[in-house]
Symmetry: C2
Subunit: 196 residues, 2 copies
């Protein structure tokens, strides 16, 4: 099968990366050297290694739609802390997030019409795909939000109070501005009962 442009580009970049690979990187151990984990959004405009200054080997980076403290993000944080030695968590959401552009009702409706791509304009979302869709989209909590700052605080609290997260690990909440590149501190939870 012929390769897509993206596959060709990814493979070509990797060949270059490989050719210039620092042998010391190949000797790094599994636990992160700087002993922290970042939970952030999958958004293409964010590069945590650049905006937060991470070299290979420094920190765990967990990313999903919204940077939400989903059960799976908490699975990853617990593994990060309990087995791989991290001692601080950063939760970093961002401005202009796609998760504020829809809600569970809209997503369920769109997916019930087709699985194909939807379009959005001033009248809202519209499905233009050919069916069939699936009713399963209506059963999922898509973890959308309307206020990015509140969502950071909600997620810091959710992690803070989770029964598998130790009560004294510091959790820092930030908002990243995709227009300026700035990280703004939003919440900090050092122990249950303090701060947020």
């Amino acid at each position: 099968m012929s390769k897509s442009e993206n596959v060709r580009q990814v493979e070509a970049t990797n060949a270059e990366y490989l050719a210039n690979f620092d042998p010391n990187l190949g000797k790094l151990p599994t636990p992160p050297a700087r002993k922290f984990a970042i939970l952030t959004c999958m958004d293409a405009r964010m590069d945590p290694a650049k905006f937060a200054g991470l070299s290979e080997g420094d920190a765990h980076v967990i990313r999903n739609a919204g940077g939400r403290a989903s059960d799976d993000a908490i699975r990853s944080l617990v593994i990060s802390y309990k087995l791989l030695g991290t001692k601080e968590f950063f939760v970093i959401h961002h401005t202009d997030c796609g998760m504020a552009l829809f809600n569970n009702q809209i997503m369920g409706d769109l997916l019930s019409q087709s699985l194909e791509q939807a379009v959005v304009d001033e009248n809202g979302w519209r499905d233009v795909g050919q069916g069939p869709g699936s009713p399963d989209g209506g059963k999922i909590d898509w973890l959308t939000f309307t206020d990015a700052r509140e969502a950071v605080i909600d997620d810091v609290k959710k992690i803070r109070h989770h029964p598998l997260i130790p009560k004294n690990i510091p959790i820092y909440g930030y908002l990243y501005d995709v227009r300026s590149g700035k990280l703004e501190e939003i919440a900090q939870a050092t122990e249950i009962g303090k701060a947020v």
Copy 2:
């Protein structure tokens, strides 16, 4: 409260990033320019932007413990495709993954003893924390694996056959070698019924 060394370093790096921020990055739209999403591991040794050649704005990056096709990763992929215009998915696991160092039984046992950090030596994992622990760790599927190549294929298949993923989106499975930086193609699924 005084700031930790990691917080100080993250904030100092961000101040530099901000000072040198390219104003064109601030104008990027939400949908990724190169229209693809990568699902990969949270492992600190992997920098997808570097080993796969991503600039800010190019692609969604979803990361969790193991790079597994968890329900939450699939939530993110569906949002990426259905609302934000991506048309190809890459699943990238890696060699020497922490997820091969334990299993559900071990993790459940460790968490039942304490929430604090466990240690590992030639006799296996051992909890040295002070209790109490929580029985909740025994109820979670931690999504561990024993064979990294099989895990890539399993995850490509899981995404391919998920009822909310369109049947013709290409899904490419790779294994990243943390010793060399090399991406190795493992699986490719273009349509249900073809390849994996």
